[in-house]
């Protein structure tokens, strides 16, 4: 009996290596679990961040809309009939020629200046069409400009 038990025990020596394998497997599973949970937590954090970004984009769009709405309302308040009515209300009236006195100053350019549009003034605008030139060179230049504009328009 004792011999049989010994033999049985002795024969299980072969499982010594299996117990190591089991330990390694358990360790591996544990490492995998740790890595998995780390991965999942990272992915969850990423997903949450993305949701937050989406919410922020939506909020930004909403604020932009509200901003445009407000600019629209401000523009509605600045319409000429309203300004005119308000001016009349507080005692102004449209000027007539008799109310205006022009004073001549030396070295002052009397020609009406083109008021630059604020939005456009931020950038350097392309020069406007050059003055009419009746020479042959001018005609040739105008034909070349015309051709170039046609090509540009075709390209667009």
């Amino acid at each position: 009996m004792s011999q049989a038990w010994f033999q049985h025990t002795f024969s299980r020596r072969r499982f010594q290596t299996q117990s190591q394998a089991t330990a390694i497997a358990i360790l591996s599973v544990a490492i995998l679990l740790i890595l998995g949970s780390l991965y999942l937590s990272q992915v969850a954090a990423f997903a949450i961040t993305n949701r937050e970004i989406e919410d922020l984009i939506a909020r930004r769009d909403e604020i932009k809309q509200q901003n445009e709405q407000l600019i629209g309302e401000i523009a509605s308040f600045r319409i000429v009939p309203r300004l005119y009515a308000r001016a009349v209300e507080i005692g102004f009236r449209p000027a007539t020629n008799d109310d205006i006195e022009y004073l001549v100053f030396e070295s002052y350019n009397p020609n009406r200046q083109t008021r630059a549009f604020a939005a456009a003034a931020r950038h350097s605008a392309e020069p406007a069409a050059s003055d009419y030139d009746e020479t042959f060179g001018g005609w040739l230049q105008s034909q070349f400009d015309l051709l170039r504009r046609q090509f540009q328009a075709f390209g667009e």
């Binding site: 549009f117 605008a125 069409a129």
Partner: protein, 585 residues
Amino acid sequence: MPGQSTQQATIHARLPIVALFLIFLASLLIIHLANFQFFPRSVRQELERIGSSITNTTLRIPAERGMIYDRDGEPLTFNIVQYRLGVSPDLVFDAETLMKQLSVILDMDEVELYFKLTSENVWEFVAGPISAEQGQAVAALDDISLGLEEIPRRFYPQGSLAAHVIGIVLDDGLIGTLGVEGAYNSTLAGRVMDLSVSNVPFDLPEDRPAEQRGQDIVLTLDRDVQFWMEVELEQAVRENGAFRGSIIVMDPRNGEVLALANYPSFDPNRFLEITDPNLLINPAVQETYEPGSLMQVLTAATALESGAITAQWSYNDVGLIEIGGREFRNRFFRAHGAVDITGVLAQSLHVGSATMALAMGEEAFYSGLRAFGLGQATGVGLFNEEQGELRLRGDTGWSESAFGLNSYGQDLQVTQMQMITAFAAIANDGIMRQPHIVRQVISEEGPKDARHSTVRRVLSTETANILKNLLVRTVREGAPEAYMPNYTVAGKPGTAQINTAIGYETGPNSSIVSFIGFLPADEPEVVAMVKLDRPDDFFGFEVAAPVFRRIADRLVILLEIPDDAVRRELQTVEARLRASQTEQD
């Protein structure tokens, strides 16, 4: 054990066969597996499509429409968002509470709302378009049964100001029509994009691409000038019992349209409420009419330019002339004796115009009118511009007598824009500038000046100067109502009868009156045209000329044009400065 060794020998003998068989099977599997990776392109695309349809959603993103500004940067349009509200009745948890909340927000009848919230339908439309504030209030309820759909809308903060110039936008803010909205739709509209958005929460959310936005447009219109022209026009139409009217103001030096007013007009924010579709037509560019005696200026200009007559030309007016077998008479059948060009223009003599046309001949006459741009759209940049009608020899309906009629503005069709462009050419020393309404186009790369070149030289400087002097005298002698004490005004009134299928209309309110003038006559800074349809009084000098005077009074203030005395003083100062500079150099 011989038996066991035989069995082992058999196994050993069969083992390679089994192994080979297994290798063969494995190879087959590997080949199939490899084959599985290399589908035909169409199958692969289909599989990818199915795959992405599960993980992606396609969103149609409407492009933000470009803005329109006046020349000083005052916004004439805005993009706003409105909403359509719908409900899934199956998902409504507490219909009564929701009904009360929505009723307050939408100002709707509670019973009507209750029926919608408890409907048998899967989806029920509740209200729309509703304002952004209402939409945000509904969204704040955070009720899963409610669905809000964004509707992009165009808002015109200036109301009816320059409505015909700006135009309107149809189809949930996508298609511009009328005015600049229509003519520059492709520039303003931007690109509608289909954006594929991932449903996978791990993919980074994509922002809307910026390059799809439409480009902004800066007009040549001056908001203040436009407003005052509309005020004066409305008053003129009402005072004169006219059917409608139009005013165009242009800078002849560069062709910029500073104002284009029509009355009656409409509010583009409420264009769906318009019952008369004719209100949406811009008569200044989309309708033609017989210009009447205004045409006599172009006839005289063409005759002078061709050399057929000189500034000293005169003729003996017997009140009658025959062209192409047809007799032409002056108004009221009067004969005027010896008459010069000023007399023809000031008294609008039909016989005088026909005499000038005969003197230059048919070819010179029509080529002159073509040079002035008649019969061709001006290309001002407004939607559906008419080109008018100028029939030449060989065209259907043309006859010898039409030549005579054309010389004083009958039997041909023009637009108001064509007439003011022709007069602007005279004012600008004979050089016709391209009339235009768009000054700049602003894209992502920055602003780009709209290139508007010179169309052509129509008259020599000498002829243009003669014409200017003639038109100054015409105002003094033929339309003193347009005379301004401190300014030299050049201009011409026009009276046109209204042609119908059975001839020209007679009786009250049966004429179209107009006046085109520019000032200061020696260095014109502004040219303006007034046109009133079917006023109570018949003639242009008695109806349109006083209106021109009123608008000219406004224009010199708004455009800061000093009177003649000040301008002369300025010229003296400038000359002195130039002289002193030359001495220094």
